[in-house]
């Protein structure tokens, strides 16, 4: 039987295209993929809940620890656990002689330890592929920003560590400890963005391909997946929202609608945020008359319902909404 080579080639290419489209659809929106496990934390441990069997298991013991938090890698394959050790103040003194100190432990979903970083990690972020973290080291200072000491990349595949910046001297403020205070590994270009504390002129980008660090004109570093907008999260006042192309602030566009600014992006390759509105049952202390003390114990209010909104920043529109009671 003679095979028509032209038809065969066209058929082969057509199948490849179908396969490509199929793959893209599968990976289009990871957020709609059903997660096998859901994690939570309390004073006993980090709990892993199997969403199919409802089986719950403690995979990391937190009992007795001073301060613990955790985050999942983008693929949920690894869990980073940030542990703070309590500082020490000698009897009769008011200040620490040994400061609180952080370390970062990496475990798998079974709780098996994969790696540990003893550096005093203050801020960290996962790489988009989940194989590395970029992190800022520093020293705790009570009541104020930590003293930054450097920015590093840690590769979980081989345990290697590389310093990418140390400090950024300030042109006029001689006592200023210039350096990284917030960090983000951008999805749109896979580069690492480093924010100074309330920077005067801009922030920094470490190019992961060239290894070079350069100044960038943005006031913040938490970009939307499509890079059209960015959030400033490190600020002593509220978070802010800017248009990347113009550095124009548009915070009020969101706060006037929801009363606050969400502090993260939905990872859907666009520029969407998830906002929540909580309706409480009326409380007797909602209206306070004159003559009462100006602060009082917070009254735990019963939640009547929560409404979630998916908000499109560019269109200034709510594109999805649902309620939980």
């Amino acid at each position: 039987m003679r095979i028509n080579k032209t038809k065969a080639s066209i058929g082969f290419i057509f199948c490849l295209c179908l396969l490509l489209v199929f793959t893209l659809i599968i990976n289009a929106d990871r957020n709609t993929t059903h997660r096998a496990y859901v994690y939570s934390i309390d004073s006993k441990g980090i709990h892993r809940l199997n969403t199919k069997t409802n089986e719950e298991k403690i995979i990391f013991d937190t009992a007795g620890l001073y301060k613990v938090s955790f985050s999942l890698s983008p693929s949920d394959a690894i869990i980073a656990v940030l542990i703070t050790e309590r500082g020490v103040t000698p009897p009769g003194e008011h200040d620490y002689s040994i400061l609180p100190r952080n370390s970062l432990i990496f475990i798998n979903p079974e709780g098996k330890r994969i790696a540990k970083l003893d550096d005093d990690v203050r801020e960290y972020v996962w790489s988009p592929d989940g194989d590395k973290i970029a992190y800022i080291t520093g020293t705790y200072r009570e009541g104020k920003m930590f003293k930054t000491t450097g920015v590093y990349i840690f590769d979980l595949r081989d345990g290697s560590k590389k310093q990418i910046t140390k400090d950024f001297p300030h042109p006029t403020m001689k006592d200023y400890i210039g350096g990284g205070y917030d960090i983000n590994w951008a999805v749109h270009d896979s580069n690492i963005y480093i924010q100074e504390f309330e920077p005067l002129g801009g922030n920094y980008r470490y190019n992961t391909k060239t290894g070079k660090t350069e100044k960038v004109p943005y006031k913040g570093i938490h970009f939307s997946p499509d890079r059209k907008y960015y959030l400033v999260l490190l600020s002593e006042d509220s978070p802010h929202l800017y248009v990347t192309a113009t550095n124009q602030e548009i915070t009020e566009q969101v706060t006037s609608r929801f009363g606050y600014l969400p502090q993260s992006w939905i990872q859907d390759r666009k520029h969407h945020m998830l906002a929540v509105k909580v309706d409480y049952e009326p409380s007797a202390l909602d209206s306070i008359g004159p003559g009462k003390p100006k602060v009082w114990k917070k009254v735990e209010r019963k939640i009547r319902q929560k409404t979630y909104f998916v908000y499109d920043v560019e269109k200034d529109q709510i594109i999805k909404e649902w309620t939980e009671k």
């Binding site: 001073y66 008011h94 009541g143 504390f197 999260l233 002593e236 003390p293 009082w296």
Partner: protein, 250 residues
């Protein structure tokens, strides 16, 4: 002397005696302060003896035995300002202590008089109401240098604000009487005394024109001037800001 004249003389005498009783210029001046001055401010100038005798304030030449005018002025705004002739808080006083953290002594505890009076007044009430121990833990106010007489101004990266002597950071109150730090976002929250912290905040409000208190959501406190910070930056202290006593914009 006729009846009319005697009558007029009597009226004038009554007026004269009344005037003598009420007019200050009849009263001989002395350097002795009135008996109503409190023990902590014996010259009744609203600047405590402790502040006037604090060596860090010697550049101002304050005299605890003679009334002095308030020298301090808050210029600009808390996040963009400075202090003219700032006053230094005494490191330890009735009902309070100042903690340094990693700062050198007398570099982080400068402010305007109204801020210092708020702290000292709250300290006295804290003590007289039996809340000590522990004493109130007072942290950063504004930065300053008595030698160069530069006070307030940009304090990054320590703080974005705290620039013009109107703000102070204060430790949450512990229930174990210890005068050390407390992170209420940690396992040590079991040592957090919410009722005492509420009392402390109300003493501060009563002794100062407080416009804002920024605190952690873990504090469990609400109120007219309260703002919650969910970033974790106020888990080990709460922040108090007072009204600018000389008005903004100067």
């Amino acid at each position: 002397m006729g009846k009319k004249t005697r009558f007029l003389a009597l009226i004038m005498l009554i007026i004269f005696i009344g005037g003598y009783q009420s007019c200050d210029w009849f009263t001989p001046k002395t350097d002795t302060p009135p008996d109503t001055c409190p023990s902590w401010d014996t010259d009744c100038d609203n600047i405590s003896n402790a502040v006037e005798t604090n060596s860090a304030n010697s550049y101002l030449g304050l005299d605890p035995n003679s009334p002095n005018a308030n020298p301090s002025i808050a210029h600009g705004y808390p996040c963009n300002g400075w202090i003219e002739k700032a006053l230094n808080l005494v490191n330890s006083g009735t009902g309070y202590y100042h903690y340094l953290g990693t700062d050198p002594i007398d570099t982080d505890d400068w402010g305007v008089l109204h801020l210092i009076n708020m702290i000292e007044g709250a300290g006295r009430e804290w003590y007289s109401n039996g809340y000590t121990p522990p004493k109130i833990g007072v942290g950063d106010m504004s930065k300053g240098n008595a030698e160069t007489q530069e006070f307030g101004g940009d304090w990054r990266p320590d703080h974005k604000c705290h620039q013009n002597g109107l703000e102070v950071d204060i430790r949450y109150v512990r229930n174990d009487e210890k005068e050390i730090g407390l992170d209420i976002g940690s396992a040590d929250s079991i040592y957090y005394d919410v009722d005492a912290t509420i009392a402390l905040m109300n003493f501060l409000i009563q002794n100062g024109s407080v416009t804002e208190i920024i605190l952690s959501p873990y504090a469990g406190i609400q109120g007219e001037v309260v703002v919650e910070d969910t970033t974790g930056k106020h888990d080990d202290h709460f922040h108090v800001e007072i009204e600018d006593p000389d008005g903004t914009g100067n």
